[in-house]
């Protein structure tokens, strides 16, 4: 009884002092590791990109790949000629500044994946060391994404200050 009480006490002291680190994706999931490249001229309002995600899960959900594509378009951009575009949100600092918003946006229940679509048949899986690299071509609706983020007050628009 006393030992149980002691364990309970220790637990009660620890619980209030935890904090979360922002990693994106599923709670507790390792920060997604990916590469992004321009893959061609997208239709108007869209970027066509190729995303390669490093993961332990061979059957990684398509939505996770879409989220990686949206994340890359927002915070990294891509600079392989002739398809290069700057990061839509300006820089990774924007992600830190609005961490509350992006935590929800990039979660499994968030809206990030809805701004992208996988090109059917473009998904390939390769085994590298003890992990898998899943590559796919994704269309990201960057105009709608930019409008949404401006509406949410997370990035500035041309008339934000006026």
């Amino acid at each position: 009884m006393k030992r149980f009480g002691l364990l309970l006490l220790i637990a009660l002291f620890i619980i209030p002092f935890t904090s979360t680190s922002y990693a994106g994706g599923k709670k507790g999931e390792e920060k997604m590791s990916y590469e992004i490249f321009g893959a061609g001229s997208g239709t108007q309002g869209n970027y066509l990109v190729e995303v390669s995600v490093k993961t332990k899960d061979k059957k990684l959900d398509d939505d996770a790949i879409k989220r990686a594509a949206v994340h890359g378009v927002l915070f990294r951009g891509f600079s392989n000629k002739p398809y290069s575009q700057k990061a839509l949100a300006g820089s990774p600092a924007n992600e830190a500044e609005h961490v509350d918003f992006y935590k929800e946006f990039f979660s499994e229940d968030g809206n990030a994946a809805s701004f992208a679509s996988l090109i059917p048949g473009s998904r390939t899986v390769k085994k590298v060391d003890k992990k898998y690299v899943i590559t796919a071509r994704v269309t990201v609706n960057k105009d709608a994404l930019a409008q949404y983020l401006q509406k949410m007050g997370v990035i500035r628009g041309l008339n934000s200050a006026f």
Binding site: L8, T20, A93, M152
Partner: protein, 164 residues
């Protein structure tokens, strides 16, 4: 032993009570410890007070949060709230050019530790989180505050900083 146990139980109970007031906190990368993010608009309450997410830097948590409150008031007074959802008044309270410099002595007193600025800003954390970044030199903390813009404006008129 029994006494120690009783004391620990009391402390645990107190902590449980305080659990409701413990703030959720998100840590971001250490590199932003010295970064100066802008104050952004989250909303406006029915009285016209501006609900803002604000950032401050300091050598410790208390100083950083105090600086965040100061930054919120200074932004409302002198810069205007450009970032955020656009609901706050984008114009500063004081539109006179170079006002910070012109009324330097006044503002130094207004913004000093424990100065008058504190009356017009308070933390609003019942449903919001804090954000923290800490590097070897500085800490950056972000909190949500409410700034009473109309009261600030009245104070500036009273102190002859802006005309009636």
């Amino acid at each position: 032993m029994k006494l120690i146990f009783k004391l620990m139980m009391s402390a645990a109970i107190l902590c449980m009570v305080a659990l409701g007031a413990c703030k959720t906190q998100t840590n971001i990368a250490n590199e932003y410890g010295s970064y100066g993010f802008n104050t952004t608009c989250i909303g406006v309450d029915p009285n016209g007070a501006q609900i803002l997410r604000t950032w401050g830097n300091g050598i410790n948590k208390a100083k950083a949060i105090e600086q965040a409150k100061r930054n919120a008031v200074e932004t409302v007074l002198l810069k205007g709230i450009i970032d955020g959802n656009g609901q706050c008044d984008k114009r500063p309270v004081i539109n006179e050019v170079n006002a910070r410099e012109k009324y330097e002595a006044y503002f130094n007193a207004f913004f000093r530790d424990g100065g008058a600025y504190n009356k017009y800003v308070h933390l609003e954390e019942s449903r919001t989180s804090r954000i923290k970044s800490k590097n070897s030199e500085m800490e950056a903390w972000s909190v949500v505050v409410i700034v009473d813009r109309s009261a600030l404006k009245a104070r500036m008129i009273e102190d002859n900083v802006i005309p009636r």
